[in-house]
C-alpha cells in the first residue's frame, strides 16, 4: 500500500512545477485567461521564437506578471501592448504593424505570388505560341503535301 502511495506521489511530482501557474488560475480564472491571450501576442525577448505565454525564461515570467498586474489594474489590452512596445520596440509584437520599414514584410508574399503568376502566364503563352507555330502550314506547304500524297497513291495504283 505504501509502495503504491509512493508511486502516485512520484507521478504527481511534475505537477508541482505547474502549481504556481495554477495558483494564478485559481485566484481569478477570467483574468488569467485574458493574460494568457495577451501574452500569446507578445514575443519572448530571450528565446526569440516563443511567446511570453509559452516561455519559461525568467524575463518572460516577469513580463507575464506585468501583464497580469496591469490587467488587474484595469488597463486595456492596447495600453499594455503600448507599454511593451515602448520598452522593447516592435520586435515584441508577433504581428508587426504596417509601417514604411515593414511594408515589404507585409506585401512580400503577395508580390512573390504575383511575380510567380506572371512568370507562369508568360511562359505558358510562349509555349502555346510555339506549338501553334509548328502546326501552322502555309497554303503552299499544304498543296505540296497534297500533291506528294496524290502522287504516292497514283504510284501504288
Amino acid at each position: 500500500m505504501r509502495r503504491v502511495a509512493g508511486l502516485i506521489f512520484c507521478l504527481l511530482l511534475p505537477m508541482a512545477s505547474l502549481a504556481k501557474e495554477a495558483q494564478f488560475m485559481a485566484l481569478d480564472p477570467e483574468l488569467e485567461e485574458r493574460a494568457n491571450a495577451l501574452s500569446s501576442e507578445l514575443r519572448c525577448l530571450v528565446c526569440q521564437n516563443q511567446t511570453i505565454a509559452d516561455s519559461n525564461a525568467p524575463l518572460a515570467k516577469d513580463l507575464k506578471q506585468q501583464v497580469r498586474e496591469q490587467l488587474k489594474a484595469g488597463r486595456t489590452n492596447d495600453e499594455i501592448v503600448d507599454y511593451m512596445v515602448q520598452r522593447y520596440g516592435d520586435f515584441v509584437l508577433y504581428r508587426p504593424p504596417v509601417k514604411a520599414t515593414t511594408i515589404l514584410l507585409w506585401t512580400g508574399p503577395a508580390l512573390l505570388l504575383l511575380g510567380g503568376g506572371i512568370l507562369l502566364f508568360v511562359s505558358m503563352r510562349s509555349r502555346i505560341a510555339r506549338s501553334n507555330a509548328t502546326s501552322e502550314l502555309s497554303v503552299e506547304d499544304i498543296s505540296r503535301a497534297e500533291r506528294l500524297l496524290q502522287s504516292e497513291q497514283e504510284g501504288k495504283a
Partner: protein, 177 residues
C-alpha cells in the same frame, strides 16, 4: 536564353538577401530608447539601503548606466574594461544590480578585481530593468547631460566598441552644453 537567366537572377537576389542576413546578429533587437529620456526610478543603493538614487541626480553630467549581475557570465568579460574606464576617469559609471542578491553582488565585485561603479543601485525584482527594456545582461546605456539616452550596448562592451564608438561619443557629449 532567358530561361536560364531567370533562375540565376532569382538565385542571386536570394543569395544577396541571405548574405546580408548573415552579417546581422538576431539577438540584437533594435532599441526604441535612443534619443528618449532615461526612464526615471528611485532605488536603494547597494552599500546603504537607506540611501536612494535617481537618474535626475545626474542632470548636467554625462554618465553610463551599466546593468549587471553576479550570475551573469558575460559580465565577467566586460568587467576589466569597466575598471579601466573608471581608473582613467572616462566618465561616471553607475551600476544597476539586476535581479541579484546583495551579498552575492558584493562578493562578485571583490572576486573580479574591484568596483568600477561610482554607485550601485539594487533592482531586486527587475522592474526597473523592464522599464529600460533590458533583456540580456549586461547592457549599458550612455546618458547625456540632459538625461537623454544616446547609446545602448547590448551584451558585454568590447574593446573595439569602446575605442571606436563609446569614447568618441562620450567626448562629444562632454563638449556639448
Amino acid at each position: 536564353m532567358l530561361k536560364w537567366y531567370i533562375p540565376l537572377g532569382i538565385f542571386l537576389i536570394l543569395a544577396i538577401f541571405l548574405g546580408i542576413g548573415l552579417t546581422k546578429d538576431p539577438r540584437e533587437i533594435p532599441t526604441p530608447f535612443i534619443g528618449k529620456p532615461a526612464p526615471t526610478f528611485k532605488l536603494s543603493q547597494l552599500d546603504d539601503f537607506q540611501k536612494t538614487f535617481s537618474p535626475e541626480d545626474m542632470k548636467g553630467k554625462v554618465w553610463m548606466l551599466n546593468v549587471w549581475a553576479s550570475w551573469c557570465v558575460a559580465c565577467r568579460a566586460e568587467h576589466p574594461l569597466l575598471l579601466e574606464m573608471a581608473r582613467r576617469g572616462d566618465l561616471n559609471i553607475y551600476g544597476l544590480n539586476y535581479k541579484d542578491q546583495p551579498t552575492d553582488a558584493k562578493n562578485w565585485l571583490a572576486q573580479q578585481g574591484g568596483n568600477p561603479y561610482g554607485l550601485i543601485v539594487v533592482d531586486f525584482d527587475g522592474r526597473v530593468g523592464i522599464d529600460y527594456g533590458v533583456y540580456g545582461v549586461p547592457e549599458t546605456f550612455v546618458i547625456d547631460k540632459q538625461g537623454t539616452i544616446r547609446h545602448k550596448v547590448i551584451g558585454p562592451i568590447t574593446r573595439e566598441e569602446l575605442t571606436t564608438k563609446l569614447l568618441p561619443l562620450i567626448k562629444q557629449l562632454e563638449q556639448q552644453g
